[in-house]
């Protein structure tokens, strides 16, 4: 059952067309990975899904982006804040705010109206447990988040995002700035999170995409060339270009 349905989406940066006629059903409680060479539009597309492109001067999006069971068109929502509560995002570089671990987690929750101290404490513990970092940080919740290692910071950023209980979790190459061990930890974590969240992840790393499973879309020059079950896409690609890319002939 699709959680996010995208129909005939186009993205323009001034005169340049970055995405061409994208049609995609992103499945609920599943993981969908986007692969493709640099500049193919996969990150740009991800940023269309929570309207992060609104920030870019001259960016223009057409088409329908229908979110959730109520099929809200996200480009018709007047309050972007409401959309971004439903569609959270984790970035390439871990970006915890320069404040305490506790404040990092509660920042979003407070903004979305939770004031009760007890409730906030519970949210902090639950989200840090969900990202399997609670035991490591429970004694230094009041210390600066910038003192954590890169991998811990990235898990904190995921915790911060799920603390506001989004429906969809967007991840823009979340492990590309991390060491291999932290990368595996994040991958394990993402594997667990897909039980509760719809996860959309951009990755440069094809092994990562195949390890994570779910569905995969292959982007090239602003188009989706192929979209299918991950195992199928890697073992038996239908398109010549997909095959060339995954066998390393270009990209």
């Amino acid at each position: 059952m699709p959680n996010f349905t995208i129909k005939n989406a186009n993205l323009y940066y001034s005169d340049f067309q970055a995405l061409k006629d994208i049609n995609l059903n992103i499945n609920d409680k599943n993981i969908t990975t986007f692969i493709g060479p640099s500049g193919c539009g996969k990150s740009s597309f991800l940023r269309c899904l929570n309207r992060m492109n609104d920030l870019v001067d001259g960016a223009r999006v057409t088409g329908k982006f229908l979110l959730g069971n109520d099929e809200t068109d996200i480009y018709k929502i007047s309050d972007v804040s409401e959309l971004r509560k439903r569609v959270g995002m984790v970035f390439q570089k871990p970006n915890p705010f320069p404040m305490t671990i506790y404040d990092n987690i509660t920042y979003g929750a407070k903004m979305h109206g939770i004031k009760d101290k007890k409730k906030l404490d519970d949210i902090v513990e639950k989200s840090l447990r969900d990202v399997a970092i609670w035991e490591e940080v429970k004694d230094r919740l009041k210390k600066s988040a910038l003192g954590l290692s890169g991998g811990q910071q990235q898990r904190l950023c995921i915790a911060r995002t799920i603390a506001i209980e989004p429906e969809v979790l967007l991840m823009d190459e979340p492990t590309s700035a991390l060491d291999p061990i932290s990368t595996i930890k994040i991958e394990d974590l993402v594997g667990n999170l897909k039980k509760d969240y719809t996860i959309v992840m951009v990755t440069h790393n094809m092994q990562q995409a195949s390890r994570l499973g779910g569905h995969t879309a292959f982007f090239l020059n602003g188009e989706i060339i192929e979209y299918s079950k991950t195992s199928l896409l890697f073992s038996n690609p239908k398109e010549k270009q997909t095959e060339d890319y995954i066998t390393g002939r270009f990209g």
Binding site: M52, L55, V80, S81, R84, F91, N95, P98, Y107, G108
Partner: protein
């Protein structure tokens, strides 16, 4: 073949030029550091003995400045200390707020079309000689105060107004640089959690720029404490201060003429001699100490902050 090519180049004496360059740059930086020590040396050797000759406490807490009195000259600098501190305090309160908000506007909200002219004007404001600020004070601020408030216009309030204006360029330019150097991913991270632009800027980006903004504030305070020329022209230059606590907390202090430490030195240095001259150096010692305290407190204040402006 290859051999022939390599022989056409002369061997360079790389080590010698590297060493000469290193020494040259070292000397250049030593000159600036040395200047500081020379200044400290001469101010302190002239000023400190005079302070103790007068009596350190009498010098700091004395309320009467009558250096040329024939029988019993008095060297109480407290009114000047008071005037410097209180004018700087209020100028800082006003100038730092306006400056910070202006910097936030320039860094995040200003449309491109307005940015260039606005930025140019602010930079120009920073380049105006202080005597010109003084003219503005004499021509506009002082008459305005004289016509609308008690007193003659030359007053603490005039000093505060002119100093608030003078700290603006320093505070704005440095704060803006600090705000711009905050990595963009903090801003995006806040937006992704559902912050509005204004929330992201005020709750995440501005606190992240705290170290740089504190630096801007301290330089602004330094400018206000040290300003001389513009202050001379509007202050009234009477070495006096409120006589009682109740007077201190009344608004009348703003309309009374004052003399700050810097103006005290500048006004009298040309004719002072003997002990009088040395006590002026003593005032310089106090001024210098204030600046040092300011810089140390900045270091303490920023101990736990990341200065992105310095990192990048």
């Amino acid at each position: 073949m290859t051999k022939g090519v390599s022989n056409t180049f002369k061997k360079r004496n790389v080590n010698l030029t590297e060493t000469i360059a290193k020494i040259f740059f070292l000397v250049c930086s030593l000159v600036s550091a040395l200047t500081l020590f020379i200044i400290i040396y001469f101010i302190f050797t002239n000023g400190v003995p005079a302070m103790f000759q007068v009596g350190f406490l009498d010098f700091i807490t004395g309320r009467t400045w009558a250096p040329e009195h024939n029988y019993a000259p008095q060297f109480g600098m407290l009114p000047m200390l008071y005037a410097s501190l209180i004018s700087t305090f209020f100028a800082f309160i006003i100038g730092s707020r306006i400056g910070k908000w202006c910097a936030i506007y320039l860094a995040f909200f200003c449309p491109k079309k307005i940015y260039k002219p606005l930025k140019t004007m602010i930079e120009l404001l920073g380049g105006i000689p202080s005597v010109i600020y003084g003219f503005f004070g004499v021509a506009v601020i002082v008459p305005f105060l004289r016509n609308n408030f008690p007193g003659f216009g030359n007053s603490l309030l005039a000093v505060i107004i002119i100093l608030s204006m003078m700290v603006l360029p320093t505070v704005i330019n440095l704060s803006e640089a600090a705000l711009r150097s905050v990595p963009k991913h903090f801003f995006e991270g806040a937006l992704a959690l559902g912050s509005t632009k204004t929330e992201a800027i005020f709750e995440i980006v501005t606190p992240a720029a705290r170290a740089g903004i504190n630096g801007a504030f301290v330089l602004g305070i330094g400018r206000a404490v040290g300003e001389t020329m513009a202050v001379i022209m509007v202050a009234g230059n009477v070495s006096q201060m409120p006589g009682s606590i109740s007077e201190f907390f009344s608004t009348s202090i703003f309309f009374a003429p004052v003399r700050t430490m810097t103006t005290g030195i500048a006004l009298e240095m040309s004719y002072a001699s003997g002990l009088h001259r040395d006590t002026l150096f003593g005032i310089g010692v106090i001024l210098f100490t204030i600046i040092i305290i300011l810089n140390i407190s900045l270091t303490i204040l920023n101990r736990n902050e990341t200065n992105y402006a310095k990192e990048s």
